[in-house]
């Protein structure tokens, strides 16, 4: 287990270097000159020159990359040209919002998707199964923005139960915070629940047909224990992978959903920064997201080993 962990940790280093190069390189391909945008309407050549000097925009790209990486390694992600604040503080400000939203969405997704998948597999070809499949189809084919707007219309406008938009920090007032995030979390989680349900269903169907499940029944176990202990544990591997990947996607921010509910998370930050050629912010945020993604994958690998003794060295 320790060798496995250290091996996986070592593999992360080249991945991260490559990812950072990609992030930096691709960004240079974006059309538009950040200095022009910052200089505003006047475009005084002297001002432009100053800006370029200050942000090292006239240096060769590899040199720019070197300065950036040097900063990143010492914990400095650079400075936003537009917001005049450090990228690290922007990330520190937005990350908890996105984390909270992603975690809540994942809870919704797991809470709906896995039980629905189990039920539809155990009660295959019954009304339960059809109902769960219809739900999955609905979840997959409903656009987030549309569902979000409908929910705002129902719960905020008509019933007046929840605030339509805005965000309150978890630390400030947890009840208000949950109230502002429950709708976007449901909108995000709903689509993932559908995917999780389909995967849980197929993995469970496979496990339920296995001889060891028949053996478990022959032992005289309660059906409940047969399903939850013998079949489910064997069916969880693909679901763990999927859950980790979906969580990673959630962390990179949900642009549309954040926009609709005006939640100040990563998604909104990235889009605003791209439109404003705010390179440092885009680089910083994408790097943080990519790192989180890689770490989540590592955690998923560790989780496999924990549920599957065959992988233990």
């Amino acid at each position: 287990m320790l060798t496995f962990l250290s091996q996986r940790l070592l593999q992360i280093i080249p991945t991260l270097i490559l990812v950072s190069m990609l992030i930096f390189g691709l960004q240079q391909l974006l059309p538009g000159d950040p200095a022009l945008i910052m200089a505003g309407e006047e475009r005084d050549p002297k001002v432009l020159e100053e800006i370029r000097e200050q942000y090292r925009l006239n240096e060769p790209i590899p040199v720019q990359y070197f300065y950036w990486i040097k900063g990143v390694l010492s914990g400095n992600l650079g400075e936003s040209m537009r917001l005049k604040s450090s990228v690290s503080s922007l990330v520190a400000e937005k990350l908890p919002v996105t984390l909270q939203l992603a975690a809540m969405a994942l809870i919704v997704a797991l809470g709906i998707g896995i039980p629905a998948g189990i039920i539809s597999a155990v009660r295959k070809d019954t009304a339960w199964d059809y109902g769960a499949n219809i739900f999955a189809l609905w979840g997959l084919s409903t656009p987030n923005f549309w569902l979000g707007i409908l929910m705002i219309f129902l719960f905020s406008v008509t019933l007046g139960w929840l605030p339509a938009s805005g965000y309150v920090r978890l630390g400030e007032d947890w009840r208000a915070s949950l109230a502002t995030t429950v709708m976007p979390a449901f909108v995000l989680g709903n689509a993932i629940a559908a995917v999780l349900m389909r995967h849980t269903r197929s993995a469970m169907l496979q496990a339920m047909g296995a001889d060891y499940v028949r053996t478990a029944r022959a032992k005289g176990l309660y059906e409940r224990r047969v399903v939850l202990k013998h079949a489910l544990r064997n069916a969880m591997t693909p679901v763990i992978t999927l859950g980790a990947l979906e969580f990673g996607t959630l962390l990179s921010g949900a642009v549309l959903t954040e926009q609709i509910f005006t939640i100040p998370g990563f998604g909104k930050l990235i889009v605003d920064s791209v439109f404003n050629r705010d390179y440092a912010v885009v680089q910083g945020v994408v790097l943080v997201t990519a790192t989180t993604y890689i770490v989540l994958n590592l955690l998923a690998d560790v989780a496999y080993v924990l549920v599957n003794p065959r992988l233990r060295g």
Binding site: D211, Y212, R214, T215, R217, A218, K219, G220, H230, P309
Partner: protein, 359 residues
Amino acid sequence: MSGALLEVRGLQKHFPVKSGAFGLVSGHVRAVDGVDFHVDAGETLAIVGESGCGKSTVGRLVLRLLEPTGGSVRFEGEDLLRLSDSRMRAQRRHMQVIFQDPYASLNPRMTVGAMLGEPLMLHGLAASESARRARVGELLELVGLRPEHARRYPHEFSGGQRQRLAIARALAVEPKLIVADEPVSALDVSIQAQVVNLMRSLQARFGLAYVFISHDLAVVKHIADRIAVMYLGKIVETASTDELFRHPRHPYTRALLSAVPQPDPTVVRERTLLEGDIPSAMNPPPGCRFHTRCIYTRESCRIDVPELIDDGAGHATACPWWPDLPPAPPLAEGTGNNEDRLRLARLQAAFVTTQTEAT
């Protein structure tokens, strides 16, 4: 046979076949279509037949791992099909199962100790943690493994060891009957002999009854007291093992026996070759189901359904014409192909060595 441990009457299982866009039931596969047999305590009944004849389905129906469409299964006089779920669960203690593939039948996520301990806990057979651990160790030793193997996972064992684990698991609850569904077919021949010998010695020790489902007559000959031959969902002949091998009556049994490879390559015998495949169980032939492949078919075979009639000495045949058929060619000969012969020679050699080792 009122004193039988297991008594099966008119057992049926029809699987619905769905087709078309709306999944309407368009027919039934008559996997098992009216099967009668009994098993006495401490006895081994082998059910043999080609793949697809319904023998595995019979095994599952007997244990109610599948719900029969009709018929009755009496275990110690009690009709299992009428038991409530909770009574059935309690009854499972007395009847266990061993499957063909020991790679599939053991839960890969459970240690051997957990796997063997679970039924003990469930049926209240080991009061304390330490009693359970002691019993698990005992079971492992019983099947020739070591108590410290309890901490391992199934993937750490070989195929033969896994089948021993499956046997230990079945024995854990001290059953009276074990249904063994092709228990050695997935194993190498030398291991087959070890496992069969283990099953026999456990039978002698604990008075177990086996329903031994197999397509391999060479293995069956070594373990069964009686044999039931199945064809397309029905039993066509039952007799004691010696009687069946010496005087096979039903044309299907004769064909099966003539296909058993013999270890002596010098003897030549006539073989009855069966032509064609087993017909579809969804639309079985009318009359005698075997008439499409039988070399002795008469006109009435296509119309009348033959009944399984006992001759009073325990040999029952579902063919009214068997006394008129030419005598079965003597069995002991060998036109089988080389590979079969070698395999059988190895199997028999393995039986001899493992038996002398055991004694």
